[in-house]
Amino acid sequence: MAYVAVKGGEAAIAAAHAWLARVRRGDGAGPGIDAAQIARQLGRAVDRVMAEGALHDRELAAMAILQAQGDLIEAAFLLRAYRTTLPRLIDSEPIDTGLMLTQRRISAIFKDLPGGQRLGPTTDYTHRLLDFAPPEPSPPIEASPDAEPVPMPRATDLLGAEALIEPDPASAGEPGDLTMRPLAFPAARDQRLQALARGDEGFLLALGYSTQRGYGHTHPFVGELRMGEVAISIVPPELGFAIEIGDVVLTECQMVNQFAGSKTAPPQFTRGYGLCFGHADRKAMAMALVDRAMRAGELGEAIAAPAQNVEFVLSHCDNIEATGFVEHLKLPHHVDFQSELETIRAMRAEAMASGPERDDAGV
């Protein structure tokens, strides 16, 4: 087939971009917003863009949200594209969520647990009615001198002490890295968690929900959900010892699920794990549900539901890939479609000519 060179559209594209630029800022009737305001007041959107863009940088994520007119998938795309311009300098030491400066920590399985339960800045227990009053600035908090951070062991470690729950999986050398080596199957749990951590929140939410509705049910309980600042530590080769280079807010979910056991091992609770950038209860919980569902094969459960199918979940959870492939359908397919037209005309002509029972009334 010959390709037909088609030119044109440059002027239309330029005009479309100019219109987009005008729409982004509006007609100037009201004050504009800047990225700093987005970082300050739209923190959950910033968290989501950092998670799905797979790059933690509040300023850059806020800039991306502003540029994308609040389209969070577009913003995540911009962030993911920007990260390709930055060199990878170092891998952090694995963070210790047990040492988190915990703003929020709840458990649905233990009422009293060491360190207590704290709600943090949550929307839980609000009336969730649209509030017509704009948020007011609040005065700084006076720290009480006895506000010493309390040690908070992970709830799963409490169950672990009695061996009622499966232990954390043992270290297995260098973890796989999807940014260096594309996803391949079978995917180990470290690769799965990396993919889920940057996976689309809506997709993971729907899959997690599907497991609750019976498609791969795992009888989950929130063993613990915690959110707060965790220190990032690196060992620069020129120093040769660990230094902390700052703190980031993370949300961690420990999902406790029904039992597995065997002839040789007594029954134990099983676990799903969720960890993500920012304050994101829903994302961390959905991730933990899907992580557990994808362990069906390892735990000897039937693999029947979508959430249990590792290849299905991981191949479709990345919204940057998904939006690329879905939205590419907008691009000109004129020549492809021309060939389809020719094919269907030929098929129809053939069918008309040799149709078995013509039933043309009046002929």
């Binding site: 790059l55 704290r118 001198p145 999986p169 620069p236 230094i243 794990y273 960890l275 950038f277």
Partner: protein, 159 residues
């Protein structure tokens, strides 16, 4: 008991006198705050770059289940810089984010803090007050968090 209480500030100072501790404090302090505490001091030694300030990324690693095998969570922007100062001391600056001026200043301070002529005054006038700011910020967060702690109580029943 009294001895312990009296010794506590000295121990805190001694802890901040270690290189990982001062690097941790400086990494958590923004450029303007560090500059503020340097303003009353003589100028830091001249320096040459060993590695010019640059931005890049670190891969943040988590552990499966919180304490198990490592996995890659996602990347984070970092900045770094290395210098050698006029006294021949090498300093390194690392911090989260993309503030090149901050990490250059950290590297200069890291070199000066290794210099006995500078160490005590920089710890006292720069590192200690910055550590206090960080501690105050953490205490304010902790106070708010503690205020949201749930106090469960159980109702007595006749049954």
């Amino acid at each position: 008991m009294l001895d312990d209480a009296a010794a506590a500030p000295d121990r805190a100072t001694a802890a901040l006198g270690a290189r990982p501790a001062w690097l941790g404090v400086l990494a958590r302090s923004d450029h303007a705050h560090i500059q503020t505490h340097l303003s009353g001091l003589p100028a830091l030694p001249d320096f040459t770059h060993l590695r010019r300030p640059e931005t890049g990324m670190a891969m943040v690693r988590g552990r499966i289940g919180g304490g198990g095998a490592a996995f890659n969570l996602g990347e984070i922007t970092i900045a770094r810089c290395s210098i050698r100062d006029a006294a021949g001391l090498v300093g390194h600056g690392y911090a989260l984010g993309r503030d090149l001026a901050q990490v250059e200043l950290i590297a200069r301070l890291d070199a000066a803090l290794q210099n006995p002529d500078w160490h005590d005054c920089l710890i006292a006038d720069v590192v200690n007050p910055l550590a206090d700011l960080i501690a105050a910020r953490r205490a304010a967060t902790e106070a708010q968090a503690q205020a949201t702690e749930v106090q469960f109580f159980t109702l007595a029943t006749m049954r």
